[in-house]
C-alpha cells in the first residue's frame, strides 16, 4: 500500500533521513521505532509532503506521491496525527473535528463519522464546545486521533501517540488504535515506547540516525536480544 524507496530528506544541510526504505501492506499495523532524533517524525513528514525528500521515491497504492502536495496526499487517503498532537488550541473540539474533515463534502458521512468518534472517545462529546487547548494531554491526543479519523483515511500515520501520557491513558489509546485497525484502516505507528508498539504491530522497523538498522515481524523483533537491551530495557 505504501512504499518508501531509498529516501533522503534534509533540513538545510542536515541530512536527517539517509536512504530509508520501508513498506506497509494493506490492513497492517507497522511500527517504526527508534530513539530521540533518529528521524521518525521526519519520515512521516516526508510521507505527508511537508518535508520533501531530496532523492528517493514514495508510492501510495502504486502512485508516485514523492512530489505531491499535502492536500493531494490527504485526499488520496493518508492522514497524520503529528507528534505533540498539534490540535488547534483556540478552536472548539467540534471545530477541530470539522477541520479533520476539511476536504470532504458529504455532510451525512461527516455527521456519521463524528458520532463514530464520539463513540470511540466519549469524553470528546462532553467537551464538544470547549476550546481544544483546555483539554488534558490525554484528551488532546484523543482529539488529534479523532480529528484524523474525520478524514476517513486509508492509511493513518501516528507519531508518538503515547508521548507524555499516563500509562493508563496509553493503554486506552493503544486499544483504540487496534480497534481502528481492525475496522480496516492501515496504520504506520511511530513510537519510542517500543514495548507497547511491538505488542500491537504486525511488523516493525528500527530506525537509527536516519537509517533502518533492523526490520521484521513484530514478534521476532521483540525476541531479538539487541532490541531487548536497546529499546525494551531488558538485559
Amino acid at each position: 500500500m505504501l512504499k518508501l524507496e531509498d529516501i533522503h530528506t534534509y533540513y538545510g544541510n542536515i541530512h536527517a533521513i539517509k536512504g530509508l526504505s520501508l513498506e506497509v501492506n494493506l490492513g497492517e499495523i507497522v511500527t517504526l521505532i527508534g530513539s530521540n532524533g533518529a528521524g521518525k517524525s521526519t519520515t512521516l513528514m516526508s510521507i505527508s509532503g511537508i518535508t520533501r525528500p531530496r532523492t528517493g521515491k514514495i508510492f501510495f497504492q502504486d502512485k508516485d506521491i514523492t512530489t505531491a502536495l499535502t492536500d493531494t496526499i490527504v485526499k488520496m487517503g493518508i492522514t497524520q496525527v503529528p507528534e505533540g498532537r498539534m490540535i488547534f488550541p483556540r478552536l472548539t473540539v467540534y471545530e477541530n473535528l470539522l477541520m479533520g474533515a476539511y476536504l470532504r463534502k458529504d455532510r451525512k458521512g461527516i455527521k456519521m463519522d463524528e458520532e463514530h468518534c464520539f463513540e470511540l472517545f466519549p469524553i470528546l462529546k462532553e467537551r464538544r464546545k470547549q476550546a481544544g487547548g483546555t483539554l488534558s494531554g490525554g484528551e488532546q491526543q484523543m482529539l488529534a486521533i479523532a480529528r484524523a479519523l474525520m478524514a476517513r483515511p486509508k492509511l493513518l500515520l501516528l507519531d508518538e501517540p503515547s508521548l507524555g501520557l499516563a500509562p493508563i491513558v496509553v493503554e486506552n489509546i493503544f486499544e483504540v488504535i487496534t480497534r481502528i485497525n481492525s475496522s480496516g484502516t492501515t496504520i504506520l505507528l511511530v513510537e519510542q515506547n517500543a514495548q507497547m508498539a511491538l505488542q500491537i504491530a504486525h511488523k516493525g522497523y528500527v530506525l537509527e540516525t536516519g537509517k533502518i538498522i533492523m526490520e521484521g515481524p513484530a514478534g521476532e523483533l521483540m525476541e531479538n536480544p539487541k532490541i531487548q537491551s536497546a529499546y525494551l530495557g531488558i538485559d
Binding site: I50, T70, D71, L98, M99
Partner: protein, 295 residues
C-alpha cells in the same frame, strides 16, 4: 462639544477598524505586517473615482467593484511579493512589504498625479451632508450614519465569515498551527490568498469612505491612515480580529477627543502616543494573547 467629538471619533474609529482588521488578519495567518495595506486603501479611493468618472456608474456599484478589484490586488500582492519569501526570514518579507508600499504609492502618482483631488460629489446623493439627527448639541450627518451603518454591517459579515464558515475556520486553524492545518488537507496558500482578499476588500471600503468624508484623495493618503489603523491593530492586540475592531474605535474616539480638547495639531500624534504606550505597557494589546513566541 463632547458629544460631537464622540460622534466624529466613532465615525473615524469605524473606518480605522475596517482597515485594522486587514492588518490583523494577515498578521494572524503569516505573521507579516503588510505595510502595503494602506496603499490598497488609497488605490480604492482612486479606483472608485475612476470608475465613476470613466464609466459613470452609480456609487453602490462602484463600491462593490472597487472591493473586488482591491481583493484581487491584495491576492496578487501576496502571490508575487510575499509568497516567494514564505520560507525566508521574516525580515525579508517585512522589507518587501515596505517596498511594495512605496511602489504602489509611486504607481498611483504616475497614473493619477500627486496633487490631491476632490471626490466626485455629483456621484453622491446631496442629502449626505445634511443633518440626519441631533443628540444634545451634536449633529450627526447622513454620511456619518452611513459610514457607521456600512462599517457595522461589514464587521458583522466579517465576524460571521471568520467564525461560522469552513474557510473562516480554516483561517483560524492556520493562524494557530500552520503545519497542522496543512496536515488536515487545508490548501494553505489558498487560505492565505482568501485572507488577503478579505482584508483588502474591507480596506477598500474604508478608502472610499475616507475620500468621501474628507472630500479628498491623494497617493500618500494610505500612509497616515495605514499607520493609524496599524496602531489600532496593535492596541487591540495584533492577530485578534475583535481586538482590531475595538482598537479602531478606541483610537478614533481618543483622537477626536484629543483634537477637540487639546489641539487638532496633536491629532496624528495621539495615534503614535497610543501605540508607544501599548508597546511599553501592554505589548499584547487589549485582547491579544501573550505575544511571546513558542519555542
Amino acid at each position: 462639544m463632547f458629544e460631537q467629538q464622540l460622534i466624529n471619533g466613532l465615525t473615524l474609529g469605524m473606518i480605522y477598524a475596517l482597515i485594522a482588521v486587514g492588518y490583523t488578519m494577515v498578521y494572524g495567518v503569516i505573521q507579516l505586517i503588510n505595510f502595503a495595506h494602506g496603499e490598497i486603501f488609497m488605490l480604492a479611493a482612486f479606483l472608485a473615482v475612476t470608475f465613476i468618472t470613466v464609466f459613470g456608474l452609480p456609487i453602490y456599484i462602484v463600491i462593490i467593484m472597487t472591493m473586488g478589484c482591491c481583493a484581487l490586488i491584495g491576492v496578487l500582492l501576496d502571490i508575487f511579493a510575499y509568497r516567494p519569501l514564505r520560507q525566508s526570514p521574516r525580515l525579508a518579507a517585512l522589507i518587501t512589504a515596505i517596498g511594495m508600499s512605496i511602489f504602489l504609492q509611486n504607481l498611483a502618482m504616475i497614473i493619477w498625479g500627486s496633487r490631491p483631488k476632490p471626490f466626485v460629489q455629483s456621484a453622491l446623493p446631496p442629502f449626505l451632508r445634511t443633518t440626519a439627527l441631533t443628540v444634545g448639541d451634536a449633529s450627526i450627518s447622513w454620511l456619518q450614519l452611513f459610514i457607521f451603518g456600512i462599517a457595522s454591517l461589514l464587521m458583522i459579515i466579517l465576524f460571521l465569515i471568520i467564525n461560522k464558515t469552513r474557510v473562516g475556520t480554516a483561517m483560524r486553524a492556520l493562524s494557530q498551527n500552520r503545519t497542522s492545518a496543512a496536515l488536515m488537507g487545508i490548501n494553505v496558500n489558498r487560505v492565505i490568498s482568501f485572507t488577503f482578499a478579505l482584508g483588502s476588500s474591507m480596506g477598500a471600503v474604508a478608502g472610499i469612505m475616507v475620500a468621501i468624508y474628507y472630500n479628498t484623495l491623494y497617493p500618500t493618503m494610505g500612509y497616515v491612515a495605514g499607520v493609524k489603523a496599524f496602531a489600532a491593530a496593535v492596541l487591540g492586540g495584533i492577530g485578534s480580529v475583535p481586538g482590531a475592531m475595538i482598537g479602531g474605535i478606541v483610537l478614533g474616539i481618543a483622537e477626536a477627543l484629543g483634537a477637540g480638547y487639546i489641539s487638532s495639531l496633536y491629532r496624528d500624534g495621539i495615534a503614535y502616543a497610543v501605540m508607544i504606550a501599548v508597546i511599553i505597557f501592554r505589548p499584547s494589546g487589549i485582547l491579544g494573547k501573550s505575544t511571546l513566541e513558542k519555542v
